[in-house]
Assembly symmetry: C2
Homo-oligomer: 194 residues x 2
């Protein structure tokens, strides 16, 4: 998606060690019109899937998931990282390692909002190691629901997430794929472009 690629080149920063700083337009300051355009693009890509609900992880998945849900007219559920007082005692919970954060993160969904046999589209900001998305899929499976597609804004192809997730045998689409962040550069690939 050219618009997102140009935004990354203009406002993203390669901090080294594979860390891409996108907090000028995705995960601290957010560009709502860009997120709207990304949601529209995900809706175009996934309009044929039988998705009944979108699942994402707080916090930075919320913006693209919400915009996609607005276009597809689907409810969005975001997995919580801490359990609020309004959540029932019995919840679906899993643990996903976060290599950018350097520790494990809990992903929690209330059984009220992840139903047996529901068809789920996952939308998130990054596909890197795939650990967070694999965690979301574990929650979907334990709920007896079914993942029907995965969409992410930015894939870092050199971190192996696509390989990890390939065993689930569902379509995986990223709006932008980065093949290398060596030597302070950001190199894109269109290998997986839709």
């Amino acid at each position: 998606m050219e618009l997102l690629k140009q935004k990354i080149l203009k406002d993203g920063r390669n901090l080294g060690k594979g860390i891409l700083k996108v907090d000028r337009f995705i995960n601290h300051q957010v560009d709502p019109r860009l997120m709207d355009a990304c949601g529209q693009e995900f809706a175009r890509i996934f309009h044929d899937t039988p998705a009944e609900k979108i699942l994402t992880a707080e916090i930075s998945g919320i913006a693209p998931a919400l915009m996609t849900g607005n276009y597809l007219n689907l409810p969005v559920v975001y997995a919580r990282k801490t359990k609020p007082v309004t959540m029932p005692s019995d919840v679906y919970i899993t643990v996903a390692p976060s290599h950018t954060k350097g520790h494990n993160t809990e992903l929690i969904v209330s059984p009220e909002y992840l139903g047996k046999e529901e068809k789920i589209l996952i939308i998130d900001d990054f596909l890197a190691s795939g650990a967070t998305i694999a965690g979301l899929i574990r929650l979907i499976e334990v709920a007896g629901a079914e993942v029907v597609g995965i969409g992410t804004l930015i894939e870092k192809t050199f971190e192996g997430g696509r390989v990890l997730l390939s065993k689930f045998n569902v379509p995986i689409h990223s709006l932008v794929s980065i093949s290398s962040m060596e030597n302070g550069k950001i190199e894109f690939t269109d290998e997986f472009e839709v």
Copy 2:
């Protein structure tokens, strides 16, 4: 706002002690079309203010703030509760007590995204005690920026937030005001309606 009021009556739950469970449509499962309608309504209310940016607090303020920003074509910044690796060492930080969570929460904004003399519109999900919004205003003031308006989805008028925030002398608008949650009921008031 009738649409939001009807949604609260249909899908909200009074858990007692002033806690309103809205995680079916705002803060766990999100209704994107409802949030879009709320954003449109905030845009109508605040289109005359000189706002250059929207500030909210993660997590549940993000959806209404994003939709408002989409209509007003303004960037949205959400104050983080933990400092990510992509944030610089020197940040604006304050502490706000959360009575529903029963502990203090940090609110952190990078100086990159809150500029001197910038005019800021605050959008959040709840106006209850006003503690979170007062925290956001402290961040705005320490950055040398200026708050020009406050909009919240749901005000609980019996928790005193409007009185606390009145000293800042900016327009405060809530899409729905709840005057009482006694005896398991949810009573609305149109006293502050726009």
